[in-house]
């Protein structure tokens, strides 16, 4: 990104001033190195989002931001419905409520190393992963409706988890005001066979070791200690969410002129929050959020079943579950006033600070866990929301490493077999149905996740608590 016309407000805070119809400025949180590597398209897209009606504060981009569709991936934007604000399908993305869940195992590195290969095989056998995979749970129409309104709570009520899991999930595992009637028959049909599946692409399940602690106090609140083994799951709302995103993106693009929206680019497709289309999308999107929460809950159950065969005493309680592709109604203080806003996070994680009433009391001293997935080889991070988070980007932080290289280029650069062998030499057991998929997800195709979380901390968006290193990776 060309930095010459940006205002550097702090070492990791860059402002793009209002110009050419922008209602608010755009703000990018990143180090100078990350800024220079960042695609110019991020700037263009962040500026375009700032031109949408009803936007409040600024159009924000996180340190892992990259070129998305309409909104940058790593983008955060809040809209006031009463001020003509909009909701955007592109501002949420196709994988609605894609997110990360992290489980404690109560085990140590040595426990896993003793069974690393057979445990990797067992997880790969029991967790449906990859293109075309199907789950063992098939939903009829009534069950589909209940799942779309019940989320993880629905899954727990069916025995796939415990009530205590729900306390460690955003919205306690069930977002209200979902409208299954706004979800098309095709979207529901796509989901019928996909409950409890991981998906493909950058989705994964990893067994990880706590490799480093940065904030001992927060780590104690989260129950993290060096050498602890965790399980991290990254996936979303599967075919149902993809179909909802596709259908509403097209409807919003086609109907924008009728809503008086003159968009600088049709990829910014959106609808006024108070319009029928806007409300239908919000109802369908919330149903997809519940679908994603139910899906991660079922995957959690499957993981617990696999671990119970090797470690009968292991319970695998939840550390936390975050969604990083959402639009949620939240209360935020803007220029001294409390306002109800529709906060879009597209590739960004909510990061409520210490004491926030949404958090389970046990987590309040530290703030919300922010789970940041890295690539197969580099590891992941647990961060914590800061008291200052709300004043920066509506309590948001980064979500991952972000790609540094296209899939097309990665395919040309690496061979899947070589990537697997290299990771095996480093002690990481990888299982995947696709060698080409492994090449496309090679660690070198991603940005340095350490640089992303360092910038996140330096900007004040969240603080580092722990680094997790992979031991086993099940790649979809």
């Amino acid at each position: 990104m060309d930095l010459r016309t940006l205002h550097r407000l702090a070492p990791c805070v860059w402002e793009i001033p209002r110009r050419n119809g922008m209602h608010v400025p755009a703000v990018v949180y990143a180090s100078e190195d990350l800024m220079r590597e960042m695609d110019e398209k991020v700037r263009e897209q962040a500026e375009n989002v700032a031109r949408l009606p009803g936007i409040v504060g600024a159009s924000y981009a996180m340190p892992d931001a990259h070129w998305g569709y309409g909104f940058p991936i790593g983008g955060v934007a809040a809209f006031d419905a009463g001020a003509g604000g909009v909701v955007s399908a592109g501002g949420v993305g196709f994988d609605i409520s894609c997110g990360v869940r992290c489980l404690h195992t109560g085990l140590k590195r040595a426990d896993i190393l003793a069974v690393q290969q057979p445990l990797a095989d067992a997880l790969f056998e029991h967790i449906p992963a990859g293109v075309g995979s199907t789950g063992a749970i098939h939903l009829n129409s009534e069950q589909m409706h209940d799942m779309l309104t019940g989320g993880a709570r629905w899954a727990v009520e069916r025995g796939w988890g415990t009530a205590t899991d729900l306390e460690r999930i955003e919205e306690h595992g069930q977002i209200p005001h979902a409208r299954p009637g706004c979800v098309s028959a095709v979207a529901k049909a796509r989901q019928r066979e996909e409950m409890g599946t991981l998906g493909s692409g950058n989705h994964y399940l990893e067994v990880q070791e706590v490799a480093e602690i940065f904030d001992a106090e927060a780590a104690a609140v989260y129950g993290l200690a060096p050498g602890d083994v965790m399980v991290m799951i990254h996936c979303g709302s599967r075919g149902l969410g993809h179909q909802i995103g596709s259908e509403f993106l097209l409807r919003m693009a086609a109907e924008a002129p009728a809503h008086g929206l003159h968009l600088p680019d049709r990829e910014l497709a959106c609808a006024p929050i108070h319009s029928d289309l806007g409300q239908e999308y919000l109802g369908a999107m919330r149903a997809a959020i519940n679908c994603a929460l139910a899906n991660r809950q079922i995957l959690t159950h499957l993981v617990r079943v696999v671990f119970s065969t090797r470690f009968p005493a292991a319970r695998l309680p939840l550390l936390y579950d975050v969604s990083h592709n959402t639009c949620k109604v939240e209360q935020h203080r803007v220029e001294g006033q409390r306002r109800e806003l529709h906060v879009h996070r597209k590739g960004a994680t909510r990061a409520f600070g210490p004491g926030h009433p949404e958090l389970q009391p046990a987590l309040r001293p530290a703030g919300q866990p922010v789970l940041v997935g890295g690539s197969m080889g580099t590891g992941s991070y647990v961060l914590a929301g800061n008291a200052s988070s709300e004043g920066l980007a509506f309590a948001s932080a980064c979500h991952g490493a972000g790609r540094a290289m296209s899939r097309h280029q990665a395919q040309k650069t690496w061979h899947g077999r070589n990537v697997l062998d290299e990771l095996a030499r480093r002690g990481i057991a990888v299982r995947s149905p696709s060698l080409r998929g492994i090449a496309e997800e090679a660690p070198g195709a991603y940005k340095d996740v350490a640089a992303v979380v360092d910038a996140t901390q330096a900007a004040g968006l969240a603080r580092k608590v722990a680094r997790l290193a992979p031991l086993i990776c099940i790649k979809g």
Partner: protein
């Protein structure tokens, strides 16, 4: 212009681009590029047929509708398609695709496609033919 397809780079996702002597041929090639995001189209047998019927306000949105319809059918039937036959009348498309049920060991599918976006979307007449392209989210 002979019919052919290619991929183009887009950050985290991938662009599909079809060329052909007609608009319909370019749409067919864009769909083949879509198949190739998942697996090698040459490895897919053309044994089962699925029919399509789409309509949109303009040619570009018609391409997105068409690719989304293919993506939905791939997911619903767990299929890959080797060949596409498209007819376009105004902004309405009818088509059929020939393919087979996904076989992971034989096809080695890399990644599933979530949906077609309107990013880098273009349907245009070129000297000697047509181009149809957009970015798909994977």
């Amino acid at each position: 212009m002979h019919s052919h397809w290619e991929h183009f780079d887009h950050g985290a996702d991938i662009g599909v681009r079809g060329f052909g002597p007609t608009e319909a041929a370019a749409f067919e090639q864009a769909a083949l590029a879509l198949t190739a995001v998942v697996a090698d189209p040459e490895a897919v047998r053309a044994v089962d047929r699925v029919d399509f019927d789409c309509e949109a306000p303009d040619a570009e949105l018609l391409l997105v509708h068409w690719l989304n319809a293919v993506i939905s059918q791939m997911a619903l039937h767990r299929m890959l398609f080797a060949r596409y036959q498209v007819q376009i009348h105004g902004h309405r498309l009818t088509a059929h695709a020939l393919g087979e049920t996904l076989c992971a060991p034989r096809h080695g599918p890399a990644v599933e496609v979530k949906g077609a976006t309107v990013t880098a979307l273009r349907v245009a007449r070129l000297p000697g033919g047509w181009v149809a392209q957009t970015v798909v989210d994977v």
